[in-house]
Amino acid sequence: MANGVLLAATGEVGKGFIQERSSDTLPCQATDKLFCWEWASEHIDRYATPTLQHLELVAISVLIGFIVAFTLALLAHRHHWLQPPLLAGTGVLYTIPSVAFFFLLLPLTGRGEDTAIIALSAYTLQIIFRNTMVGFANVPKAVVDAARGMGQTDRQILWRVELPLATPEIFAGLQVATVSTVAIATLAAFAGGGGLGEPILKGGISFKTNLIIAGGIAFLIAVILGLVLFAVQRFLTPWQRARQA
């Protein structure tokens, strides 16, 4: 991976990933076609590993981000004074550009997947935390009062009333976080984290077919995961559909 970074860094892009393995790709690059079907159909298999790495980066980062942000949201729900500092803190993490974040971690965690995962999950915190808080805030006061009147404890109210009613917002946060993370994970290659950014960095900006395949796969993953999470949310909150109908 250091190889890829250095190639991009010294401006000798367009070499390595494409040329090191087969010389028969040269005509395709030379003709400067927008998309080279022959090359694509022959070499599509080399995107399998980056794609799997990409999915792994996203899955682990969003999972960690969700666990941390959700826990923080539960804490802030119980202790309201925690809300402003947590919003500000996650906001700062969200604002730091991911490329910078990867390299701020450099002295601590070095280059590699761990660094990428830490930065990517830190990025999701703000979105998930804020959406969860909005979800709690949108729960009608009357419903909580009714639950309390029925003798439910705070814990029961939280798990049986507030969380189910906040599900749409929580899932919306999860969806936005996942889709953004898929897109941003292409930058993980700068930090040696692999993923679909790696073929882009190694292939350089001169070979469009490579850019379209790698970028296209990342875009498709983002769109598909977004739709899947939307479908899951609809499935989990049938009362919303009933209200709309």
């Binding site: 860094a9 010294t10 910078a100 882009i200 001169s206 970028g215």
Partner: protein, 247 residues
Amino acid sequence: MATREAGVIGALLLNPPLASIQGAIEFIFTPQTSNVTGGKTVGGIDQVIELTLSQLELTVFALALSLVVAMPIGLYLGHRGTGELFATVIGNAGRAIPELALIAFMAALIGVGVLNLTIALAVLGIPPLLTNAFVGIHQVDRAAVDAARGMGMTEFEILRKVEIPLAIPTLFAGIRSATIAIVATATIAPIAGVLTLGDFIINQNVYGDNGVLAGAILVALLALTLEFGLASLQRRLTSKGLKLKPA
């Protein structure tokens, strides 16, 4: 090629990356000698200022372009209350665009340079601006709009004097998201031929590990400064707008 790589890997094994905050701060303020530029110095406050200005310039151009494209459409659709699906789809699709692929592809398609990067970065700014403009205007209390219409305001006056002031928080949230997305992605502009602060980060072999860390610190500070600046601007504009409204 192979020997150089072997050399680089060997060097990394012998001297593991040891970036330090002190080293990075030194790099920011005083030029350092680099072993690949043939005795020329790198870093130092002059180069830092130059690259910061370059990144800001790129950000401002791209933000201006995305504002010009997205705002009229978002405001118009929000005012008419139509095109909700369009605004939502644009907003969601925009989030799914992989930045690195976009920058690289635009550079491959139309060449490297400031103009092309401006267009590529504007593509990232348009979705949040358009969606927030639509949502902000659309959610303005219809009673306020009807009252304005009843007072004889034209459609344009309603937009300018009623809907936009009331939508300022949402509009600004869009501007902030767009700015952050653009300035963050402008960090990788050096791969498409425009030197920004990201050059320190991407060209580790020129600037060294202290340069990389310095670049990361500077980029983070730049983004945070813009975010806080826009947030305080938003607070000012909001209070003014709401104060002016009853008058």
